[in-house]
């Protein structure tokens, strides 16, 4: 009973207009927003970093490349990696005319920070991870760990890692090209699907021909021509009355057919140059993550220029 009494008296006291009650009330009213502001502004970063997306089939060396760049200053070798299941991102800094192995803190160069985002290459996980990022008109990437606070960043470039050694024999080429086709088609659709007159920002794509340290690896030029030929073949096969994929749906608008065709209309052979029409610039550069060879220096430079 006594607790009820005290509660009652407290309640009454809080409602009587005394100076203490008024000051406490004022303090709460004034400082609550300030406190909330500090609480939330501290949790979210002020600047949104530009990001670069790593794509490619499983086993091409995406995660290895990511760790190579991340560990660059401390040890010039990538971590041991296995098949990825989730997207992961790494914050990196790039400065003009420096290699990824130079420690930027030491040189004191003005660096630009960006996020390098690694996606799983397993076919079952592509749709949910890599391709969903691309299909939105303004691709933004939520870092998986800070998902609550919406730490988004703007997508600046794509790096499509391919295994140049595996492309030499039959099976890997179609698989790789299929994925690349999906990616390029998504970019093209994104260009078509723009709203208003403002075109979406151009999206440079780097095809990183990895594993050039291996004896069986194809040089970058050959990787490019092989991929172009294969993409052309896929395009032909898809257009050749392969039954429409929107199963059973009667709303086959004419728009779909235009969008299903990758590259310039009516062209006989596919080439990456045709993608320029859609503000997609494609470069093919060779390199390797482990072993002796040209290394990853050129890729790093390419990323540095685009960020």
């Amino acid at each position: 009973m006594s607790t009820l009494e005290t509660l009652k008296s407290l309640f009454e006291a809080s409602l009587t207009p005394s100076p203490t009650v008024i000051t406490i009330g004022l303090l709460v009213v004034l400082f609550a927003p300030v406190l909330l502001h500090f609480l939330y502004s501290a949790a979210t970063p002020y600047t949104t970093l530009p990001s670069v997306l790593l794509l490619g089939p499983s086993g091409a060396g995406k995660t290895a490349l990511l760790t190579l760049f991340e560990r660059g200053p401390s040890s010039p070798s990538p971590a041991q990696t296995h098949t990825s299941q989730v997207t992961s991102s790494v914050e990196l800094a790039v400065a003009q005319e420096t290699s990824y192995t130079t420690d930027l803190d030491a040189t004191g160069a003005t660096a630009k920070k960006f996020l390098l985002v690694d996606t799983p290459g397993h076919p079952k996980l592509r749709a949910a991870n890599a391709l969903s990022y691309l299909s939105s008109a303004e691709p933004t990437i939520k870092s998986p760990l800070a998902s609550d606070h919406g730490a988004k960043s703007k997508l600046k470039a794509l790096v499509f890692v391919v295994d140049a050694a595996a492309l030499a024999d039959g099976d890997a080429l179609p698989q790789t090209a299929e994925y690349l086709y999906e990616v390029l088609l998504t970019l093209q659709k994104r260009f078509h699907g723009r709203k208003g007159s403002r075109a979406p920002a151009s999206m440079p794509v780097l095809i990183a021909a990895n594993k050039l340290d291996l004896f069986t690896a194809l040089p970058a030029a050959l990787v490019k021509s092989n991929l172009e030929a294969e993409l052309g073949r896929i395009r032909a096969a898809r257009s050749n009355g392969l039954l429409d994929s929107g199963v059973g749906q009667d709303d086959l608008n004419a728009n779909d057919e235009v969008e299903g065709w990758l590259g310039g209309d009516g062209s006989e052979k596919f080439s990456f140059a045709q993608m320029m029409e859609f503000d997609v610039e494609v470069d093919v550069i060779g390199g390797n993550v482990v072993g002796d060879g040209p290394g990853a220096e050129k890729w790093w430079k390419w990323i540095g220029e685009r960020v």
Partner: protein, 642 residues
């Protein structure tokens, strides 16, 4: 014995690993893609944080993998060992390592945007656990193998570890710097050969080191510390060979060391001379020190677990439940609620009902729901997200993952690569052989003619083989299809013919002849029809194996009705297993999809049962009513609530 122990993240980076015997990385890759991505293991428990004992072991290529998964941090702990061996303490090891690792590096692991975790010093914890759990009375050969391996590892790992230890606490440097060696030395006692070697080395170390030493005191102390600091190389037999050229003992550099522990000096020389090498007393001291720490961690975690269950039980009280109920309701609307089992149970029941209504077999529905529930347990809902929308989202992702094929399914491309192979592949062009199987009356011949129509439109030369030599009228039915198709596609340039041998012949022989005939006449594609058979009739099913061997089809497609319910699982399983050990189905055609509306659950049931992708979907009676399977379409239909 244990071959490899790895700690890796779901993003694919190996945080820490100990390789005692080289294992191809593909073993772990296969493990990840089979268990976590494709979820092939029949137990849908891949995504929980249960202890290693509850997770089914995964076998691949003579190796057995035991594993556990820390969901919150996304870390997988895997132990790989030879399938021949039975290691009873492995589960305990994995669980303990998991507890210790998570405890030690939790803060580093939750940092965003980095993959680096500094865990070089984890070596000693692992060694401690390994020695504590490993039964010493076990087979001698096992002990021998382990000791070799541990030594091999020592040369690489211990120098830096020791150094960092010295830097941190110079007071106890010489002993602590070698955490694993004393323990290995007590294993060594059992073997004569290595012990002799060791003692020789120890003595040599003593001689070599006495030169630079400034005083007698220091010399004796150094001799004690020295033998453990030699670089070692390993010859083919696994025996230690010392390398005089490399000096691994960096701890001698700080001069303050020399005065740090004079009390340890007395027994050291005798012990080295007595060739017991590396005092047992001190060895135990080191082990015990680390062991205490580890045990403290384990005990603490156990206590925490106990406390957690207790608080869960005792969280009663009228005010408590009332408040939590209100805040639960509030959070249900606003989001940011951490999902518990109770929250999920009811909602998952509803989802299961929903799937069952969509004609998904119960087995598949239960498995899907269990997977989603485990995935969501402990997850926080987003802003203004209710539990049901979260579950919907997770189910969509999980259905998409299940239905998405692992490899590309471009039929035209495949045919092209077989009929006109690239010059470099060194293969001879041959006709592409496709056969169609299924239960009676599901639409095998109809779908065969639909595929034929599609191929003819792409200007292929197609041979249809009448493999149904049993049912009266089957051959004539195909003949009618062929006549129709000929007329339909005459002006488009396709060519089609029927190959038939009448009734009563062996279907496998007919198929084989048809393929030979097609190769001779330059056909691009051979489509083989087969007789319908009941999937639980052993006699009829057994002839399929012979058929697969004779005709060597590039693709075996099974036609399944969308109408069939729970039986679809058994159908798919039996047909998938009917072609012998080396062959399985390559894809499904789901017919009569137009008759079921959005109750397309059969799709999920059969993919769940076999992990074989759906290739085509039949949506009508016309030749053109065959569609590519679109995962998005199926998932939309399955989750639509009307």
């Amino acid at each position: 014995m244990l071959d490899t122990f790895e700690i890796l993240t779901t993003s694919g980076v190996v945080l820490w690993s100990r390789t005692l015997a080289p294992v191809s990385p593909s073993v772990v890759n296969h493990f990840i893609s089979d268990v976590f991505i494709e979820e092939k293991s029949s137990v849908a428990g891949a995504k929980n944080g249960a202890s290693a004992a509850e997770n089914p072991s995964y076998k691949h290529d003579q190796h057995t993998l035991r594993w556990t998964f820390e969901k919150e941090l996304g870390i997988i702990f895997v132990a790989v060992y030879r399938s021949l061996l039975h290691i009873s303490w492995i589960d305990k090891l994995i669980d303990n390592i998991r507890t210790i690792f998570v405890k030690l590096y939790h803060d580093e692991l939750t940092k965003p945007n980095t993959t680096i975790v500094q865990c070089v010093s984890f070596d000693k914890y692992f060694d401690q656990q390994l020695h504590e759990l490993e039964p010493t009375g076990g087979g001698k050969s096992d002990v021998r193998a382990l000791q070799e391996d541990t030594f091999a590892d020592d040369t690489g790992d211990d120098a830096p570890t020791g150094q960092s230890q010295n830097g941190a606490s110079p007071g106890s440097s010489p002993t602590v710097s070698r955490p694993s060696t004393p323990s290995t030395s007590h294993l060594l006692v059992a073997k004569a050969g290595p012990v002799a070697k060791m003692s020789r080395r120890a003595r040599k170390g003593q001689n070599a080191k006495s030169g630079p030493a400034s005083s007698g005191d220091e010399a004796t102390r150094k001799t004690k510390a020295k033998p453990v600091k030699r670089g070692r190389k390993w010859d083919a037999d696994g025996f230690a060979d010392e390398d005089d050229g490399v000096q691994l003992d960096y701890s001698a550099a700080p001069p303050s060391d020399s005065d740090a522990e004079p009390r340890e000096r007395p027994g050291a020389v005798e012990e080295v001379d007595a060739s017991t090498w590396g005092s047992n007393a001190k060895g135990k001291f080191v082990l015990k020190d680390l062991g205490d720490e580890v045990n403290a961690i384990l005990a603490q975690e156990n206590a925490k677990k106990g406390a957690a269950t207790k608080t869960e039980e005792s969280s009663g009280g009228l005010v408590g439940t009332g408040l939590s109920a209100i805040s639960g309701l509030f959070r249900n609307v606003v989001g940011g609620k951490t999902l518990t089992k109770q929250d999920l149970d009811k909602a998952m029941k509803g989802m299961e009902e929903h799937l069952l209504k969509k004609n998904v077999a119960r087995e598949a529905a239960v498995r899907l729901c269990e997977g989603v529930e485990k995935e969501l347990l402990g997850v926080k809902t987003g802003n203004f997200e209710s539990i049901n929308t979260r579950i919907q989202k997770a189910m969509e992702a999980s259905l998409t993952k299940m239905l998405t094929p692992t490899s590309s399914l471009d039929l035209l491309r495949e045919i092209d690569s077989i009929t006109s192979p690239s010059v470099t592949s060194l293969r001879k062009p041959r006709p592409y052989v496709m056969s169609i199987v299924g239960v009676n009356g599901v639409g095998k011949s109809t779908n065969l003619s639909k595929i034929c129509f599609f191929l003819l439109q792409n200007k292929y030369k197609v041979l249809i083989a009448a493999g149904d030599t049993f049912r009266s009228g089957a051959v004539e039915q195909l003949a009618v299809h062929v006549r129709n198709l000929k007329e339909l596609t005459a002006r488009e340039g396709g060519q089609v013919e029927l190959y038939q041998k009448g009734y009563g012949k062996d279907a496998a022989a007919v198929a084989k002849d048809a393929v030979a005939y097609a190769a001779q006449e330059g056909f691009d594609v051979v489509l083989i029809d087969t007789a319908g058979r009941r999937h639980n009739d052993q006699r009829l099913m057994s002839s399929l194996e012979k058929f697969a061997k004779f005709a060597q089809p590039d693709k075996i497609l099974m036609v399944g009705e969308a109408l069939v319910g729970t039986d679809s699982v058994a159908q798919a399983r039996n047909f998938n297993a009917a072609f012998g050990s080396g062959r399985s189905l390559d894809g499904f055609i789901i017919s009569k999809c137009d008759t079921v509306g959005d109750m397309v659950g059969t799709l999920v049931s059969i993919v769940h049962a076999t992990n074989v992708p759906v290739l085509f979907v039949g949506v009508g009676q016309h030749y053109s009513d065959l569609r590519n399977f679109s995962v998005k379409w199926a998932v939309e239909k399955l989750l639509s609530s009307t």
